[in-house]
């Protein structure tokens, strides 16, 4: 028996080696690198590396722009995740209804799946031009005064959220849709017979039965949005007044543009810990221990 296990193990490792080896090298080992490099300081001009212990972390602790980016990341996620989940649920409910034209709408709802975030960002940066852009003409026609959009510290983050959601909601909708399909139709038929209003049946039946799916979407969505980078990198560069400077952008700027690997890595460590904490809290709050 023991021999059999050994032989099987050897065989299994052969099958596993390429994929799991690559995952270990490119997904697990870098985590070790981040921790290691965050204890070093790299000189910009000479490129020399010195061990500085926890100095990089101490620097961050007293760094206002770092804490600002932590706050922006938090704010972004407190807003974007509920928004995306609610829209995804509404979209899924719509195309799960038995109406004519459903398949056509379904096709339209899937469009963003094929549009990259970079392209999405280009489109919406044109429409949301401050001053005499398209959106301002539309707002103007319904009597709303023109808005500064990306030029405003209080609006820029909202538009970034809009751009990311345009791309994101369709993806999350897929999961909710699958969750809806798993709810037996008989339950709704029973509701009809009992004369329960559709809205009531949504809150008392659909939502509880979807809870698990929604939790999964919420957690995965949060993980994705913690790394939101493309629209910020392409349009605002963290501005105006650092109002869109999320931690991922701050880390990229520090490590890649200023060659300050030590502080950049320390930021990444912080970002990972933050993400893990938030995901853990989400599981705890909803009382689920596994996906």
């Amino acid at each position: 028996m023991n021999n059999r296990l050994k032989r099987d193990s050897l065989k299994a490792y052969m099958f596993l080696f390429p994929a799991v080896g690559l995952i270990l090298l490119f997904k697990i080992y870098p985590i070790i690198i981040v921790f290691g490099e965050s204890f070093y300081k790299v000189s910009y001009l000479s490129g020399s590396k010195v061990f500085v212990g926890i100095n990089n972390y101490l620097d961050l602790f007293f760094d206002r722009s770092f804490w600002n980016s932590v706050w922006v990341t938090t704010k972004l996620n407190l807003l974007i995740n509920p928004i995306q989940v609610v829209i995804a649920v509404v979209m899924a409910l719509l195309i799960n209804m038995e109406f004519r034209g459903r398949l056509f709408y379904r096709l339209l709802f899937f469009i963003p799946l094929g549009v990259s975030l970079a392209v999405t960002t280009i489109y919406w940066s044109i429409f949301f031009r401050p001053g005499n852009g398209v959106m301002n003409y539309i707002l103007n026609s319904v009597g709303i005064p023109r808005q500064p959009f990306f030029n405003s510290p209080s609006q820029a983050l909202w538009i970034i959220i809009g751009i990311a959601s345009w791309k994101g909601c369709s993806f999350w909708m897929i999961f909710i849709l699958a969750g809806l399909k798993n709810i037996p139709r008989e339950i709704y038929e029973a509701c009809d017979v009992e004369g329960i209003e559709p809205i009531a049946s949504f809150f008392y039946i659909t939502l509880p039965l979807l809870a698990k799916t929604i939790l999964f979407v919420f957690v995965t969505d949060t993980a994705a949005n913690f790394m939101l980078f493309i629209p910020i990198f392409m349009i605002t560069k963290g501005g105006p007044d650092s109002s869109t400077n999320v931690l991922m952008h701050e880390a990229y700027r520090t490590a890649m543009l200023q060659g300050d690997m030590g502080h950049g890595m320390a930021m990444i460590v912080f970002l990972m810990l933050m993400l893990m904490t938030v995901v853990a809290i989400q599981f705890k709050v909803t009382g689920e221990r596994e996906i």
């Binding site: 296990l5 099987d8 193990s9 065989k11 299994a12 596993l16 390429p18 994929a19 799991v20 690559l22 995952i23 270990l24 997904k27 697990i28 870098p30 985590i31 690198i33 981040v34 509404v90 719509l94 109406f99 709408y105 339209l108 709802f109 899937f110 469009i111 963003p112 799946l113 094929g114 549009v115 990259s116 970079a118 392209v119 999405t120 280009i122 489109y123 429409f127 005499n132 852009g133 003409y137 897929i174 999961f175 699958a178 559709p198 995965t220 993980a223 994705a224 913690f226 980078f229 493309i230 991922m248 990229y252 890649m256 890595m265 990444i268 970002l271 993400l275 995901v279 596994e290 996906i291």
Partner: protein, 281 residues
């Protein structure tokens, strides 16, 4: 009473669906139409807003020709297709092999390796871009095609998809084959793979899109034109002295329509694969 509600529901359903549909479809339709206009009329009808924005006149193919004859973009397009093709082929093979092992073989360390695979796909890849850059740098692979491919090929999510598939196939089938003297490799290729086509299509789409939409990783790791990736190459139409918006939108339209042409007929497989990993444990 019931009839009235249905009419109202009908109405609401269509209004809401049309609203969402328009928000999704208008940007890409506008971009496609605008890219068929000459450079100086790309933004025609936008400010002030008028119907002219959605009429492709005067019609020209110049922007699309320009996109294909642009060195940076056309070599990025070729490179992206090569990188994506290699990623899909290698990715499907090695992740399927790993999924097969997890699903059908008992081996030492299975629990640990499985949780590594699981955690690797819960960790969003972009967070590790900077340390991965350090790693690739120390391997001397900066600005190479290999550096674009390797980190994406081994994919926890795809392994997971294959684990699910392989564990659904009846054990009896496999055991019968083994009794007949078939090797594990033969079992994999003769029995499992033919059954696995839907999973393979889904996995291919996931891997293809991962490369097609790659942004942050090529941004830090690619330097030369030959190793450019398309999402980054879009910026080539914005130069120091101005932006060629006609070409930029033509290129953006291409970047949308190629994956959409693949996704629309195959969406069933894509959705089944993506959703499958999430909802069935």
């Amino acid at each position: 009473m019931i009839r009235r509600t249905t009419t109202l529901q009908h109405f609401l359903f269509h209004i809401l669906s049309i609203l969402f549909g328009l928000i999704f479809v208008v940007p890409i339709i506008w971009s496609l139409i605008a890219s068929f206009r000459p450079e100086n009329l790309v933004f025609a009808g936008l400010s002030p807003l008028s119907i002219k924005a959605l009429i492709p006149l005067p019609f020209t193919m110049k922007n699309f020709i320009g996109v294909f004859t642009n060195d940076v973009f056309s070599s990025a397009l070729v490179n992206t297709l090569v990188v994506a093709a290699v990623t899909v082929v290698c990715g499907v093979i090695i992740n399927a092999a790993a999924g097969f092992a997890f699903a059908t073989i008992n081996f030492v360390g299975k629990g640990i390796l499985f949780s590594i695979v699981l955690s690797s796909f819960l960790m969003p890849p972009d967070v590790l871009v900077i340390p991965t850059y350090n790693l690739v740098d120390s391997l001397g692979l900066i600005d190479t095609r290999i550096a674009l491919i390797l980190p994406v090929v081994g994919n926890g999510m795809v392994i997971f998809m294959f684990i699910q598939f392989f564990s659904q196939v009846p054990k009896a089938l496999r055991e019968a084959a083994l009794i007949d003297g078939a090797s594990s490799l033969q079992v994999l290729s003769k029995i499992y793979l033919p059954l696995t086509l839907p999973t393979m299509i889904g996995a291919s789409l996931i891997l293809f899109l991962a490369q097609w939409e790659a942004f942050l990783w090529p941004l830090v790791v690619s330097r030369s034109i030959e190793n450019g990736m398309i999402q980054i190459a879009l910026s080539t139409f914005t130069q120091q002295y101005g932006t060629l918006w006609g070409m930029k939108l033509a290129a953006a339209s291409l970047l949308c329509f190629i994956p959409l042409i693949l996704l629309m007929p195959l969406q069933r497989y894509y959705i089944a694969s993506v959703v499958g990993t999430a909802l069935k444990e």
